[in-house]
């Protein structure tokens, strides 16, 4: 009962957020632009543009287009690719395995490295380890990932020949893109783990656990880490949500056959319909991942369920 009461508003909220996001995507992309003109290029005649508009349903007034757009979404129809003449959904689903594989591995690397880095920094606050890890985290947030990918290719593929520079297939192909992609979430996780753990360590219940004579390791493991975990889990969810679609440039650099590369190909061919479909899938997956994390909280930590929204 109480779980349903906890879940219902979250589901509703997620649905509303998604609806607004998809409407925003529609209006931002269409309100003042002329996709037909852009698809055909500047040398197209007026007749050609008009024909294209009719073909895409762009000749109708904007509100009518919007209703059609919502209607399509409602029936889970993502439209047809202009370039490939196949349903967008098919094209996107075909890229899912690669994208998910890359995201999962990158998140694993980010967590395995970022979490200990942050915890270490919090425990050794103010000392050299702390400074190093904070600086590394800041560095990770400042570096353009696609450029880092290029540098990795330069070193590991071109100069030393240890790993392949692009494409996919074996685990060796996965290493460079996954490591590159893991840098930003790693930095975020490390920063957040550090701040949330050092905050918890100053709480009174930690002091009293220490006063009871518990060993420092016991205090940290049984009390502090558990309480510091929540915000870290949140940021992991958020990062995973953005990774799936945020990998565009990194996928492009490594010619990784995921959603991001599909998007850049769609751009090259001005495949407006496919781009829009990918945006929709990206927004849906972001909202779904975060909803899942939110619901997981409710299961893991009953206190949050009590507090309600």
């Amino acid at each position: 009962m109480s779980f349903v009461r906890f879940m219902a508003p979250k589901l509703l909220g997620a649905a509303i957020t998604l609806l607004i996001a998809l409407s925003l995507a529609f209006f931002l992309a269409r309100a003042a632009g002329d996709p037909a003109r852009n698809i055909l290029g500047e040398f197209a005649t007026e007749e050609q543009v008009l024909a294209k508009q009719i073909e895409l349903g762009l000749d109708k007034p904007l509100p009518v287009q919007f209703v059609n757009y919502l209607g399509q979404l409602g029936s889970f129809d993502l439209g047809k690719s202009l370039r490939y003449s196949r349903p967008n959904w098919e094209l996107i689903v075909g890229r899912f395995p690669s994208s998910i594989q890359l995201t999962v591995v990158a998140m694993l690397i980010a967590t395995i490295v970022g979490l200990p880095l942050g915890v270490l920094a919090a425990l050794k606050e103010g000392r050299i380890w702390d400074r190093v890890s904070v600086f590394v985290a800041l560095f990770g947030q400042s570096i353009p990932l696609f450029w880092l990918g290029l540098m990795f290719i330069l070193l590991f593929a071109v100069a030393w020949g240890w790993l392949p520079a692009g494409q996919s297939g074996t685990w060796q192909h996965l290493v460079l893109p996954a490591v590159t992609l893991s840098v930003l979430p790693m930095a975020r996780i490390a920063r957040l783990a550090r701040s949330s753990l050092s905050e918890v360590l100053e709480e009174t219940y930690i002091t009293s656990a220490r006063a009871r004579g518990l060993r420092e390791r016991t205090v940290v493991i049984t009390h502090a880490l558990r309480n510091a975990a929540l915000p870290v889990v949140t940021i992991m969810g958020l990062q995973a949500g953005t990774l799936l679609s945020g990998a565009v440039t990194v996928e492009f650099v490594f010619a990784w056959p995921g959603l991001g590369t599909l998007a850049t190909q769609a751009v090259q061919f001005r495949d407006f319909s496919l781009v829009q479909a990918i945006v929709i899938v990206g927004a849906v997956s972001f909202v779904l991942i975060n909803l899942t994390v939110d619901l997981l909280y409710g299961i893991i930590d009953p206190r949050i369920r009590e507090q309600g929204s």
Partner: protein
């Protein structure tokens, strides 16, 4: 749903003890940026090669410290024989202009909407907060791609896209600050004295969130530089003959096997600038947010 998660994320981010804050003063953090800004501004006065001048016989000349490098091109030349040093300095101009323009537009809209939402509450707040959540749920680079594909490519569109990406950030943070400010006694007192909402928002809420806006805007210049470089790298932002760091990376990518310097230097420039901005932002945060200084 996202609201709570996002607020959680930001509050944690703010409580991160600033590396910069503890180690150096604002000036030390700002100095590299000021110097760089001056160099970039004074570019036409410096003895630099014409950044657009092609020399097909002098293609991919290595930088001075490698064999074959010449003082004529200290950082070497690119695939069309153009001087890399000049291109990086001139490219910095456009990169900065775009990032700062986007930050200005985004921060004005975001701050205003955030203050209105937080102060007025009610349905206005509900609507704005929902749009912020929705905006943050849209994958930024895909959204940018969608807009640019349907609108065509231009500097104005690029700035607009970047501003659209960033406004929600300000709105979210400033809304939270305005929400807590509106319950403060001095705001209640002003309402009791008959001050209008407009006056309270502009004269009292704004000065009190100004420091936060400044910190956010500083950090956001870095984010915008990264976003611009990503879009230009994909061929969606700045394109030839205009020069930006991201655009340089896009052009040099194919030649990475033979001439690493063509992609290495623009990337180093981006990383250096964004890192400096992030360090400065950390220092500013400690300075302008005295209430939270103990946590920083």
């Amino acid at each position: 749903m996202l609201g709570r998660m996002l607020t959680g994320a930001v509050s944690a981010d703010r409580t991160t003890k600033g590396f910069a804050a503890r180690n150096s003063s604002l000036w030390v953090m700002g100095l590299p940026l000021v110097l760089l800004g001056l160099i970039v501004l004074a570019a036409p006065l410096l003895p630099l090669a014409d950044p657009g001048l092609q020399d097909l016989r002098g293609r991919l000349i290595p930088p001075i410290f490698l064999e074959g490098g010449t003082w004529e091109h200290p950082l070497g030349t690119d695939q069309l024989g153009r001087d890399l040093l000049a291109r990086i300095i001139y490219g910095g101009r456009l990169t900065f202009v775009i990032a700062i323009a986007a930050v200005l537009v985004g921060s004005v809209f975001g701050t205003l909407l955030g203050m209105i939402a937080g102060y007025r509450r009610g349905w206005v707040d509900t609507v704005i907060a929902r749009i912020v959540d929705a905006q943050l749920a849209l994958p930024f680079i895909l959204l940018a791609i969608a807009i640019i594909v349907s609108r065509g490519r231009s500097l104005a569109v690029l700035v607009a896209v970047l501003a659209i990406i960033s406004w929600a950030q300000y709105a979210r943070v400033i809304r939270a600050e305005a929400l807590s400010l509106r319950e403060r006694p001095f705001i209640l007192g002003l309402r009791a004295a008959g001050a209008s909402s407009m006056r309270i928002i502009l004269r009292h809420i704004f000065p009190n969130v100004g420091g936060t806006v400044l910190v956010l805007a500083t950090l956001e210049v870095g984010t915008m530089i990264l976003a611009e470089s990503a879009l230009s790298f994909l061929g969606l932002g700045v394109v030839s003959p205009d020069i930006s760091w991201g655009g340089m990376l896009a052009g040099g990518r194919e030649f990475i096997q033979d001439a690493w310097w063509v992609v290495a230097f623009p990337g180093i420039a981006i990383t250096f600038v964004v890192l400096s901005i992030n360090l400065l932002g950390d220092a500013l945060r400690a300075r302008y947010d005295p209430r939270k200084r103990t946590y920083l």
